[in-house]
């Protein structure tokens, strides 16, 4: 078709129309809006998001489900999971190359040992980089050179079912990385139980008729470094004196133990600070824990004192059941040595500067 306009004005091929620019602008705006609005649309395609969460899972699984591994000091067989009883060193030449795990043993995942938790807390706060190595978070062991950093807390809930004083939380583990984290942090939480060790359960509702109680600990073995803990419950009365004796029936004149250093008394989980002056009074719902530190049973060179055979408890009313025969701390058929567990939460924050 021939136009009435001159040839030069009529030929507009190759120009972009205003309409087209507007239309394309609308498309671009939609596209950018969609990307920014739907958060995490492209997150799965970022390598760090995948990598951090799997490493966080691996680390938490090793801590919670594994008792650890131990190789290397002379005289101790490889593979012993009791890594917490030996000094941990960085190099295999001088000590234990190991994997840190907090579980009691392999067959009970999520049941953590209080000794391992304490050892890990000391190690990680004293020497963070060794702990990081032993947790497999220092990538130089593998092919790459990715280093991860972590914060770990373990908070134990010791609220008694009968408690009217609200929730009672105890922080067992608090490890903070020396370097602060960046924006990309992976958080992993595990629910666990903490095995806080054995206690003698002294149920005072069974015919309470004595002011005195002797606990026989003469069967203690030299390699037993656990504290002696006696849990007194269902009791009505007041405990006011604790000491040691060489035989049942002998009331010691005065205790050579120092309160606070050698033994402690806890009422419903709280330390009793004025025990020496006022003793402690119990209701039937109260739980009293008498803890004799293992160091109180040993001389300065670490040998057990031969004369400490009984622990002597004294009350201001006949609230004890045992009479003078003495309850065997380690092997009594009625008053059992019992493991005490509390639920806890392990929180792991993990990041790496490679993935900023």
């Amino acid at each position: 078709m021939r136009s009435i306009f001159p040839e030069t004005l009529d030929n507009d091929r190759g120009q972009s129309s205003i309409d087209f620019i507007f239309g394309f602008g609308v498309f671009l705006l939609t596209f950018i809006f969609a990307i920014s609005f739907v958060t995490g649309l492209f997150t799965p395609f970022q390598p760090d998001a995948i990598d951090l969460s799997s490493v966080a899972y691996r680390t938490s699984a090793l801590l919670v489900e594994d008792p650890g591994w131990f190789i290397g000091v002379s005289g101790i067989p490889a593979g012993s999971p009791s890594w917490e009883t030996y000094p941990l060193n960085d190099t295999e030449a001088t000590g234990a190359g190991l994997r840190i795990g907090l579980a009691n043993n392999k067959s009970t995942p999520n049941m953590l040992s209080i000794d391992k938790i304490n050892a890990f807390n000391v190690l990680a706060n004293d020497n963070y980089s060794i702990a990081r190595d032993k947790m497999g978070l220092n990538g130089s062991i593998e092919s790459g050179s990715i280093q991860y950093d972590f914060n770990i807390t373990l908070v134990m809930n010791t609220t008694l079912p009968s408690s009217t004083n609200g929730v009672k939380n105890v922080t067992l583990l608090n490890v903070t990385s020396p370097s602060s984290h960046n924006n990309n942090v992976e958080l992993f939480e595990r629910k666990v139980m903490v095995d806080t060790g054995k206690q003698l359960f002294l149920n005072c509702s069974i015919s309470p008729d004595q002011n005195y109680q002797w606990i026989n600990i003469s069967n203690i073995t030299p390699d037993n470094y656990d504290n002696i803990t006696i849990r007194i419950y269902n009791a009505l009365g007041g405990v006011n004196k604790i000491g040691w004796s060489s035989a049942s029936g002998i009331i010691p004149p005065s205790s050579t133990w120092v309160y606070g250093d050698d033994y402690m008394v806890y009422l419903n989980g709280d330390p009793v600070y004025n025990f020496l002056t006022s003793g402690v009074n119990l209701n039937s719902s109260d739980i009293l824990e008498v803890v004799i530190h293992n160091s109180a049973l040993r001389d300065p060179s670490g040998n057990l004192y031969p004369n400490i055979k009984f622990i002597y408890l004294h009350a201001n009313s006949p609230m004890f059941p045992g009479g003078s025969y003495g309850i065997d701390y380690f092997n009594d058929q009625v008053y059992r040595l019992t493991d005490v567990y509390y639920p806890a939460t392990l929180r792991l924050e993990l990041w790496s500067y490679v993935f900023a």
Partner: protein, 186 residues
Amino acid sequence: MCSRNDKGQIYTMEGITASLIILGVLLFIIEANSLVVPQTEKVIDMKLGQVSNDVLTSLDWDSYDSWSTTGSLESYVAGWNGHTVTYSSNIPDPDLAALNANITAMLQQDEQYKQTDIQYNLEFFYINGTGKHSDMVIINGEPGDNSMVSTRLVTLNQNDIGLSPFWQGDDTFPQVVQVKMICWHV
């Protein structure tokens, strides 16, 4: 209009249409790909599943010569007296009410980030002389879309302490009960 040659131009409406088509294709590609690539959403689901699995594992301890502020899972299953629940009723069984309180306390224990947004239901599955039974024992709500299920097997024996009249009357021993925890974010 006979004065201009406007063949081949894109106009506003076509631009919008094109943007919609491209967005649609983009979404389709991402959705299809996400079936293969592990992604953040899956990690969140995995964490939820891990928490519920941890709760059941933590509760499953041997109650011989051990004590805790919460009972063992076996003790609660043994004390269950055959009561099922519906969406509108409270938990009639005292053992299961205690278990509900304990699990809720475990889920919400964290001081900093209280996991109050996690809800769960509990179901017992067992087989006895009258066939297969699948009984809801704790109902806290309607499970959401991304619910996670974890299970734990509990074995009851005839001489177990604290067996309820329901299990004693049932008299199928050893009785294996599958405890099923259905967990979801609110």
